[in-house]
Symmetry: none
Subunit: 219 residues, 4 copies
């Protein structure tokens, strides 16, 4: 019963977008169950009748919001072609993007997980999201292993799940639970732990894997 934007006039598109935006904000602020359709309408500045012109239910709105967020995370986390050559630098670059992507959407992904408990469809979306990140991580590790730069005995997938989880979880703890750290410190630290954990062999460019500088940066 979702009405897609393509069908709509520009006025309709505006209204619809306002609802999605308002919904996203409110979901983030209050959590799924605490959001009332009427609240979303109020924030979007439309009557509740209008809501049902575009969405059949709160769940459908959330579906839309979730899909948007998942899409954004996919996009946001792609390490571009400008990625550095140095393996450690690559890890650090990836972790920066990774951390930011999760930090930005931490709340919504948490909510997605909560909703996924009861809803098959959302579970699918969630697993898809995770799978993309896991694959990307596993792929990176496999490449390093092939280059002889990382411990070849590590199972790439499981390692990616665990170390990726470390970053994801830190994003949550950092933003949602107020663990204090600045971004640079956090990324440096996560990257150091990650690199060491996979047994990354420093290359000739010689990166400084000791996070001494981090302590300074973090203070």
């Amino acid at each position: 019963m979702i009405v897609k934007s393509e069908t709509l006039s520009s006025r309709g598109r505006r209204t619809r977008a306002a609802l999605v935006q308002a919904g996203r904000e409110m979901f983030e602020e209050r959590g799924y169950d605490a959001v009332r359709v009427d609240d979303v309408c109020a924030r979007a500045g439309v009557s509740h009748g209008t809501f049902y012109t575009y969405f059949g239910s709160r769940e459908e709105l959330f579906r839309e919001v979730a899909a948007t967020v998942v899409g954004e995370m996919f996009t946001a986390s792609v390490v571009g072609p400008a990625a550095p050559d140095d393996p450690y630098a690559r890890i650090e670059a990836a972790n920066l993007l990774y951390l930011r992507a999760w930090a930005t959407n931490s709340r919504l992904v948490r909510m997605l997980e909560q909703v996924a408990i009861a809803d098959e469809g959302f579970r699918g979306l969630l697993l898809e999201l995770r799978e993309v990140f896991v694959r990307r991580g596993a792929e990176g590790l496999r490449r390093l292993q092939e280059q002889g730069l990382a411990d070849p005995s590590l199972d790439p997938r499981l390692t990616a799940v665990m170390l990726g989880g470390m970053v994801e979880h830190f994003a949550h703890v950092w933003l949602d639970l107020g663990e204090h750290a600045d971004e640079r410190t956090a990324v440096a630290m996560l990257s150091t732990l990650w690199a060491r954990a996979i047994g990354l062999t420093p290359t000739s460019q010689g990166n400084n894997m000791t996070p001494t500088s981090i302590k300074e940066a973090g203070s």
Copy 2:
């Protein structure tokens, strides 16, 4: 308005316990908002009127359940006096307990986080819980650093947050999202990554930090 067990007759104590148990089960199964007071009563085998003899609201029941769970996690994760001397073995022992503790209660802690968004009290409980684990991890790392067995430049707290998060997050992914792994493999893997990440220097007892055995165990 909570009526504590101490005040009650043995019959009352039994009824109250049944409600807490039923509530815990249902919260785990369905998530906070999807649990109706009536459902809990039905499972506990009492009328809904009776619920209010013991608890003033669903929230109060959850408070009780959450406190119980947090208490159990504190207890369950204490590395007993029988802990091995070998640092790696200690890490592995701790991770086993840690993983089990989080795995057992993953759902409820997630719920606690969700509820904590809107409720100051629950937020306190949650931070307390995390703090205990973080302190314990940081303490362990500091000791290894003092013994010259771990990289002294690592910030103990932040490291504990990150590596502890890795374990906690894996517990969730493992059980709630169905990431396949058997416990032994998971613990070995987590411990390897953990030990390497902190730069644990193998002691003379010579533990095998290459997880070759892990791949075998996991296959």
Copy 3:
């Protein structure tokens, strides 16, 4: 989701009965679609929440009312053992009961027909109701045919459908649409038409099939 009376305390039974009674009255007065659950509650003197203690929806209430009415019609229309021997008198006795049964419940049966258009279950109930009356009529005719008192060439079922329909329809026109006639006249007239239509041979007891007296009574 209907809660049956047997399960309930006497207070509950009273409340439930009040809802059914109020529902019946309002359905009769206003027709199915015009009845609001709240109206029924107001008339029964309970809050709307209470309604849902006993019925899951307006439809369920109607189901109950309809079943009650159908039951009453079955009971009310049975020609007792005190039925006269004379065939015409039997027809008249049957028509009196028949007319009264339909007249009493005309509105509700009409409503049942309306609801039956869209609902399989109600359609079944309606057909059942009709079938009982058709069978009874057909049986009576067959007996007369066997006794050589009625035209043996008439198809019993179809005849019963048509003549029964005449009575049923008259009940409706009479009460719901205000066609003026007193009961005695109506019954005499219907019986005369019925008896003649099936070619009833007057027995020796000699009943007066000319409805001369009727005109007097009806004036």
Copy 4:
């Protein structure tokens, strides 16, 4: 607020007619209350805004549909000048038209009755409709009585109400409730019962009032 056809351009007339036709179909299919203005518009292929260009409300549309149907029934049931001379044949001819007229519009007339419960205006239309048929039937009977062909003691109006009701009701049972019969059989049967009921004296042309042929026709 009804906009009559005369006022309109040909385009407007077409749109209006489409709405009336669509409304009629949907009313027949679903019943009055189940028809949404939007459904009618969708079937007519116009936007819902357009509906209000021609009708002020759903009720007004129904008023139009009902008037159309009543008009058609008046027209359809007139026994033309080609009517046979033989009284029985006239009855049969009339019953055929009568049955068809009611069968075609059974649903809508039923609906009209339902709506008439709550609406004075529709009640008037309904009574008018009935009155036409009753008068016509009574008139026919009176003529037969004057010709000495029917029982002169029967009250013409009441007889017409009852026997006309028989036909009308059969039309409903036949089509709406699925009582099985083919048209020829039904008409023959109804006519036989009707003729006998009024004590029709067979004329010299000797019509066969025994419905032997009917049973054959019905097989």
